[in-house]
Amino acid sequence: MKRVFNSKKGVGVYQSSPVVTRHNAKELHVGTNSLLVVFLLGITLAIAYSLNVFDPIYLKGLDHDLMFAGTFVSVILGVSCYEFWNIGKRSLYSFHFMLSRTLSREMIPLFFVRDYAFAIGHNTVYKQLELPAGLRKLGCISICLLITVITVDNRAFTKVKTLPEVLFESNTDFCPEQSKEELDTTIEPGCELVIRAFQLGYSQDLGSCAPKEIAPEKLSVCDKRRVDEPYFHYASRLLVSAGSKIAAVMSGSEIEKIEKKFALQWQQVENLRDYQLYAMSAAPRASHHIWTNLPAPNSDIHQAFIDVFQPNYCLDTFQNQTNTIKLDNEDERKKGQLLEHVYGQLLFNPKVKRTVGLCKEYQIHWDADREVCDQLAEAPVQVLAEYKVLPEIELVLKRHDIAQAITALDEKLAQLDMVDALGVSDNRVNEGATPASTLKGEENTGTLQKTLIDKSKIAKNKRFRSKEEIVSFSCFMQGQKTASREDMLTLHQDKFKVRTYEFKPSSTLGESQIAMYKNFARVMDREFHYTQLSSRSDLALPVSSAEEADSAAPSNTSTVDQKAYLQNSAYMLARLELLNNIDIFLGNDWVLEREDLLEVYPFHVHLQNYVESFRVEYQQDHGRL
């Protein structure tokens, strides 16, 4: 029996429910409420399983508050859903599995299997299968609990917990409280002994090591909200301030300045575009070329492989160079290998801290003709095009021009700001006041409006290098005699020096290594001279008289005594200390003739010193933008 409302009578009357008794063994009718619960539970279980929610370690790590709150909320939500959607009641609709011919009109068939049909429809007639109400309620709660566990982890729960604080927290900074005078208790270097003496009573005062008072900060007028200021008062202050700023902008002078700045930048828009493009694409900042008639260190196939698959070959190779190189006498490429080793040591080896540039911006052209530098001086464009380096050089020169234009633009923009900041008329600027911004004087713009241009994109160094410093041409040729000369070439109205240096080959490997360093250093920088004063070896003492080899003081710089000293087999290891004072870059060729000494010679001592001296000299006139 169930109570239904009779609209005619206006009262609720009891009406008997339709009797559902028909049941066929070959039919199946399942209530949609139960199916829904089972289906949703299955989905959430599958999702939870795929997300490893059931991992015992994860569950064990869940916050206890989260577990409690999650369960509590799940129960409430689950029961609410259960009651709201009447899941506990008999389903009004059912899934039917029955003979196709027995389907009624209200049923919607889903699909057919032989004589049977799956259908869904309103069901008041058939007895339908349903989960017990308790199970359905439990199912709803379980679904809510699984959703909670899937979606909320410890981090999310912490955010939820702190949400009220965040919401109610004011997002404005407050003016700082006036700081009290405090003593600076940090101990200055060298004061530890003074403090200790004072503590022990040996001294009456600390003198300059005494803690200093910190002067209270001179606060400018603080525009932020005061601690005790009402929020609406602060809001009205902000409004008034914004109005004043708008009025200032609209007054005329600011707009005029903006227009002028825009006009200036519009004139240079292509340069500005290129300057950003080159900075982002890491375009080369220098281009240095060396032609040599020595054979390439690698075979053509190997070199082609390097060019294609190892673009950072030079960076990797020069990162881990050894102090000396072992060459195969039979290898026809040994001189090229030696040159490459020396070139890497002199310019790029990071063991000596000051590297002169990026190795990708340097190029050695192997197996070159001996007259290439003469041809270069006569027809530079053709020769450079033939070697396929003209585009790169032109790019570097163009980048230099752009850098100059951008620097000039930056100065003009800074001038406009200076006028505005000082409140001075344009006349004063026109009279030649020093512009606020140069590439060097970045600190001058500290109090002025920041410009749009990032100077590090223009030039890495504070000193703006000339074109001759960032582009160079050299020829390093093996010949019958030692000679050097300098020619000039003109490339797109810019003049560059072309240095040619010829050197004689050396006979022994030891000599050839040192000779290669000296010769290559000369071609890269004519001004470089390595002397006793640059060397790490001790200064030479005057020779007094001949002494016995066995007890010869090694301070005696007579070569004969040094040779004899290093031929003695007693205290063999200690005697090698003498080599630290024999700099083979300053001559001392007798060491180069001793094959045994070359094997144990401390190259790192004098080589690093030599390289560092060279780089200091080289960087004065060469480098990158």
Partner: protein
């Protein structure tokens, strides 16, 4: 034709004398050549092998005594801004110390391990920079800076020996000093070519560490 025994004997003696004299004549030439370039591969490896032998045949106490002695003379008598003077001074004191020992073998062994000690002393600044030395001195808990420095040096030596042990050159039996000497020589040549360290510093550090370690094991300390 039979040759009488006395005649045969005299001919054999003549030939033997001839051969001996010829060999003796060649020997100085070979010795001169070897002496001219003692740092060739053979000479280096032989010297390192002899150094290992010297460590094996000397007590650990003697080694540490010699070390203390040389360090003391370096601190007190051999201070100099010129490294060559300092070196010569230490060598002279070491020679005097070795001459006080009895027997040529002991003196020869003393020369070898004294050489190692001198080179280790000279190489201290290469292994421990000034900044690190200051840190060690500052953090020495019981005030014994010297002990702390020695411990740190031992760690540095251990690093070199570990690298040697992990390299392909150390595939030797522990008692095969010739093989060890060869491997150590080659390892130090390669290692010092890559790093900023002298060959003799590498060899001395490794020989001292391995020599004292094996000596301690041998004598049960």
């Amino acid at each position: 034709m039979l040759i009488s025994f006395p005649k045969l004997r005299s001919q054999v003696v003549k030939w033997w004398l001839l051969v001996t004299m010829a060999s003796l004549a060649c020997l100085p030439g070979g010795l001169v050549f070897a002496q001219d370039q003692p740092y060739l591969e053979q000479g280096r490896r032989a010297y390192i092998g002899e150094a290992f032998q010297a460590f094996n045949n000397t007590s650990i106490q003697s080694l540490h005594n010699t070390e203390s002695y040389i360090y003391a003379v370096d601190r007190n008598n051999c201070q100099s801004n010129l490294s060559s003077l300092r070196l010569e001074c230490m060598m002279n004191y070491a020679k005097e110390n070795c001459q006080s020992l009895r027997g040529a073998p002991a003196q020869k062994a003393c020369e070898k391990y004294s050489d190692i000690v001198i080179v280790n002393k000279l190489s201290e600044s290469n292994f421990i920079s000034k900044a690190e030395r200051y840190r060690i001195a500052k953090s020495a808990t019981d005030g014994d800076v010297k002990q702390a420095m020695m411990a740190r040096l031992q760690q540095k030596y251990a690093r070199i020996v570990t690298l040697f042990a992990m390299s392909d050159y150390s595939d030797c039996k522990p008692e095969d000093t010739a093989c060890l000497a060869q491997g150590l020589d080659q390892f130090c040549l390669d290692y010092t070519n890559r790093e900023s360290l002298s060959w003799q510093y590498c060899v001395s550090a490794a020989v001292w560490f391995m020599g004292t370690a094996s000596n301690s094991e041998k004598h049960g300390k």
